[in-house]
């Protein structure tokens, strides 16, 4: 393989990975934008979302198959279920805490995260669970680059969901209300906006996107694990921060950048050029987090973030 082949191949992998990060990062950033809460349980919603998709698929597969159609239908159900779970978590765990000191809410979020993670550990006994999807192996060859249909579908679905979200937030009256609540809650109330309802919708959408990512990840990689939300939660948070937390396009960009960074890092090997430097897959996280720190040194508000107050 030439350098160019490796490059295009990793570009593709990076985009796939970045799509997952972006979908999860969106929930982080939306919730932060509207209630200024770092929802550390968000990665767990991705995990629980994957399991919800798995459950729905195992019911529906005998009727509609376990191909992409079955996965897509399961994904929609998982999105709705996890969307409501997100709303319930907000009402039960966060809403009573919103006027408490910041640290208390953060600890609450960690507690929610542990409850979800350990709940799933108990249910699955720590075992990997096969997702049960039956996706094909087809694809197209572009020169030496092989793009599978699965990759194409996954990236398109992710892009479509993000486009839909962006349209909702920028074009609809309710989307405007969400942005209003993010910058000025009292003024929003004075305009007749039910701020609690907007917060609920925000949690619903963010959680639903995490569930979409979880279901697609299960289908794409083939199995689920109770711990799968932990690292992606951290990375999605990272992606949201790189992009400028609170900014929706920022989360998309940050996710993509992080996915690309990681994917290229695994191939970064300068020894052939006489420089004793190789990243490799074991060091890819160290590499990407170092880049994150660098970005934040030069742009503390993230790539698309504005000043402290102006978020989302």
């Amino acid at each position: 393989m030439t350098i160019f082949d490796i490059f295009t191949n990793q570009l593709l992998n990076g985009i796939v990975l970045g799509s997952f990060y972006a979908l999860v990062a969106l929930g982080y950033t939306m919730v932060f934008g509207v209630v200024k809460l770092l929802n550390f349980a968000h990665g767990e919603l991705y995990m629980v979302g994957g399991f919800a998709g798995f459950l729905v698929l195992s019911f529906l597969a005998p009727f509609i198959g376990a191909g992409w159609f079955g996965v897509a239908v399961s994904m929609v159900f998982a999105m709705i279920a996890i969307g409501f779970l997100g709303v319930v978590i907000e009402r039960v765990a966060y809403a009573p805490m919103l006027s408490a000191p910041r640290l208390s809410i953060l600890i609450t979020a960690l507690a929610v995260s542990l409850v979800l993670q350990n709940g799933m550990l108990a249910l699955t006994k720590g075992q990997y669970v096969p997702f049960g999807s039956a996706l094909g192996f087809g694809g197209i060859n572009l020169g030496k680059l092989f793009i599978s249909y699965n990759q194409m579908i996954l990236v398109s679905v992710a892009a479509l969901l993000m486009l839909a979200l962006e349209m909702f937030v920028s074009r609809t009256q309710y989307g405007r209300a969400m942005r209003a609540v993010a910058v000025d809650k009292d003024m929003s109330r004075l305009m007749g906006i039910n701020v609690n309802a907007v917060i609920a919708v925000t949690f619903f959408l963010g959680s639903a996107l995490a569930a979409a990512a979880g279901t697609m990840a299960g289908a794409f990689y083939g199995s689920l694990w109770y711990f799968m939300g932990f690292l992606i939660g951290l990375k999605a948070f990272t992606a949201a921060v790189i992009g400028g937390i609170g900014s929706i396009p920022g989360a998309m960009l940050g996710g993509l950048i992080l996915g690309l960074l990681e994917s290229f890092a695994t191939q970064l090997d300068l020894r052939g050029m006489g420089i004793p430097f190789k990243v490799g897959s074991e060091w890819k996280d160290v590499f990407s987090f170092s880049v994150l720190i660098l970005i934040l040194v030069f742009k503390p508000t993230g790539l698309l973030g504005k000043s402290e107050q102006e978020r989302m």
Partner: protein, 239 residues
Amino acid sequence: MTSDIILKLEGIASAYGKIDAVKGIDLEVARGQIVTLLGANGAGKTTTLKTISGIVRAKTGRVLFEGQDITSMPAHIIARAGVVHVPEGRHVLRGLSVRENLELGAFTVKDATLRRDRLDQVFAQFPILKTRANSDGSLLSGGEQQMLAIGRALMHGPKIMLLDEPSMGLAPKLVLETMKIVKRLNETGTTILLVEQNARLALKLAHFGYVLESGEIRLKGEASQLRSDPSIVQAYLGT
């Protein structure tokens, strides 16, 4: 003021923790009038408006709007009933364009044609907002932001508008301009409760006035009577 009372406060008291900001006031606004609430800085004017609109909860007392007790209603429900509060400092929404700010003013208006008609009316009344329709609302000048704040309130279709110091921070010429806008609003049928530091100007527009001091009503009367009484002017209204 025997006519139709649209808004009535009965013994309203409000506090921030242990700080009593408003200490049991009675106030009435007759439909179609401009009533002004005057007083020095810190007298409790803003708190009174916030208590009416539900942003601050009354400790005791009742707020009646069109005869209905709205004291414990959530702020967004009070707004939907037609009580539209244009807060001190304008609160133009950052990151939203002028047009988006205006459209959100009509958040509770479900009829799209009505929204469009109102937008046209606001643009006709404040042409500068039309010119700047696509720029970020927070980039407008102070005077333009005040027009935006009032335009946004008009989009809502208020039965009563609570205006908190619309002339604050504006150049003298713009202060007069703002007062003209308030007068015109009233002439086209909007009832107004106007909070002002500039007492002389406010009393020129208003039908009735209240003077608040340390959270209590010290004086009330027909505006013409208040502004012609030299001792009152000197004692309470300053310059």
